[in-house]
């Protein structure tokens, strides 16, 4: 059964708040359609400003779509969703402990016992005492705490925005293998710029660049789709990607200096909360 079904989803910044932007620049996503089921990892690829982070925020309920529908067949509302944002939003001055954070996983319904929290951190292989403050955790350990929270919440949908950012190769592999475990009970959607990792660990792909989107099994991906998604950024990706021979792409002349609102120097136009 589908865990999440997205149909004709569009999102634009409100005209009254962004008067200085042209209509085409305010529209971040245009009629995106895809489905993800429990047991699958969907990897979202695309250039900066293509709408990846905005899409995750829409799925998490942090933004409201301009049009289109998002159906969560397994959950009534947003409960059962865990969202791990791109930016580390921890309030580092607040001395909350791992236990206190995990204890609140099922609020507003009920609290979680200490034994269940211990089981959860063991499940995500977090080797830290449960009474340690969250502020002392590294970025990777913080992500594991959030996955422990997903485990305690019995989350049906896990949304991760660039989870491998800041992790070394081994850390990336371990995290993505862990996600492989979690997908047995949930659908996982992740945004990542590391195409090699996405191709290795994700079952399905969504290539996204505002109005353009392509969604299918990873085996169907080819260089034309990536070129169509990334345009001029594709060659830069190949240069920076480890083993720059992904899909045996040949260097091409860049003709897309101002494609659809994303600029060549990599400035991110992804959405901010307007809720």
């Amino acid at each position: 059964m589908n865990t999440i079904r997205v149909k004709d989803l569009s999102f634009s910044y409100p005209a009254k708040e962004f008067e200085n932007l042209a209509d085409s620049d305010r529209e971040i996503l245009h009629k995106i359609t895809f489905e993800v089921s429990r047991g699958e990892i969907l990897g979202i690829l695309g250039p900066n400003g293509g709408g990846k982070s905005t899409l995750l925020k829409l799925l998490a309920g942090l933004l409201k779509p301009t049009s289109g529908t998002i159906e969560y067949p397994h959950t009534d509302h947003q409960e059962g969703i865990i969202y791990i944002p791109q930016k580390d939003l921890r309030n580092l001055s607040y001395p909350i402990t791992i236990f206190e954070y995990l204890e609140s996983s099922r609020l507003p319904q009920d609290k979680v016992s200490k034994a269940q929290c211990l089981e959860a951190i063991e499940r995500v292989e977090l080797k830290r005492p449960i009474d340690q403050q969250m502020s002392g955790l590294s970025g990777g350990e913080y992500q594991r705490v959030l996955l422990a929270k997903a485990y305690l919440q019995k989350s049906k949908l896990i949304l991760m925005d660039e989870p491998t950012k800041g992790l070394d190769g081994i850390g990336q592999d371990k995290l993505l293998e862990l996600l492989g475990e979690f997908k047995k009970e949930a659908a996982v959607i992740l945004v990542d710029h590391n195409i090699a990792q996405v191709l290795k660990h994700c079952d399905r792909l969504l290539c996204l660049n505002k109005s353009f989107h392509w969604h299918d099994h990873r085996s169907q991906l080819n260089k034309d789709i990536l070129e169509h998604t990334y345009h001029c950024e594709f060659e830069h990706l190949l240069i920076h990607e480890k083993g720059g021979d992904i899909l045996q792409h040949e260097h091409h002349a860049c003709l897309h200096h101002n494609h659809e609102g994303h600029d060549h120097d990599g400035h991110d136009h992804d959405g901010e909360d307007t809720k």
Partner: protein, 285 residues
């Protein structure tokens, strides 16, 4: 004058002591929340904005009840609370996950309400009450009614916060996660503003508009720095607020100083002393 027996001999000092303790308890509870949520400037702004409510209530009170009526104090409190809450609610709504920086909105609120309050007092209120006593506080003038209001507020606010302690902690730490989880974060945000307004208005007579900020900030700064967990920030902050308040009240009486300023300076001095002790301890270790 005896530093300690005065509190047994003089009823007005007993009232001052009980009032200060009630405010210390309530502010001690809220202070870690104010600091964790980065609402330090917000508390100060609402405190100054409360002058609008005080000015309006001072201007109106003589028309509603005869001079010297015992319910005057209650009426001033009620009108001030109502006006300040009405003014603070739009601020609460506009600062909830908005693009415009909160500090700009708070500054706007602060300037508008305080300026308007002073203008209203100049136009309608001269000779109708001492606005300065609300700026700097006059704890020695507390009535039994004032104490009853303070005690009732303390109990109510403790009940509201304590009952949902874990939810408040999640709200303070990660509002976005709390929202996704299904917590009504907007309701928490507005409720927190309203609680803050109530405490500030009820504390006006004790520490005044200017000094209530020390009650709302210093215990919280202390607790966030030294408490080992989020739950313990409450007990650390309340303990700090109570101890410093007791010392401040005794010092003010013994040295014949103003109660409000002495309380604020005592809190800062004790915080700095503890900070220095920890610093020395860390250097030795």
């Amino acid at each position: 004058m005896n530093w300690l027996t005065d509190f047994i001999t003089f009823p007005f000092l007993q009232k001052a002591l009980f009032g200060a303790i009630a405010l210390a308890l309530t502010c001690g509870l809220l202070s870690p929340m104010v600091v964790a949520k980065r609402f330090a400037f917000m508390g100060s702004s609402i405190a100054h904005g409360a002058l609008l409510g005080v000015s309006i209530s001072l201007a109106l009170v003589d028309f509603i009840v005869p001079k010297g009526n015992p319910s005057t104090s209650l009426l001033i409190f009620a009108i001030t609370t109502l006006v300040t809450m009405l003014a603070a609610t739009p601020l609460a709504l506009t600062t909830f996950r908005q693009k415009l920086p909160s500090d700009a909105l708070i500054g706007l609120f602060f300037t508008a309400t305080m300026g308007l309050g002073l203008l209203i007092h100049q136009a309608l209120g001269p000779g109708k009450g001492d606005l300065m006593s609300y700026l700097f506080g006059n704890i020695l003038m507390l009535s039994t009614l004032d104490l009853s209001i303070l005690a009732l507020l303390s109990v109510s606010i403790f009940a509201i916060v304590w009952k949902k302690k874990s939810s408040w902690i999640l709200f303070l730490y990660d509002e976005e996660a709390a929202f996704i989880q299904g917590l009504p974060t907007k309701r928490y945000h507005v409720l927190f503003f309203l609680i803050l307004t109530l405490v500030i208005v009820s504390g006006l007579k004790i520490s005044g508009v200017i000094l209530i900020n020390s009650f709302l900030l210093i215990p919280g700064i202390f607790s966030l720095k030294y408490a080992p967990s989020a739950k313990k920030t409450f007990s650390y902050s309340i303990t700090f607020a109570l101890i410093t308040t007791l010392i401040g009240v005794v010092l003010a009486n013994g040295l014949g100083l103003g109660m409000g300023p002495t309380l604020a300076v005592t809190q800062v001095a004790i915080f700095l002393a503890i900070y220095a002790l920890y610093w020395v301890k860390a250097k030795i270790a």
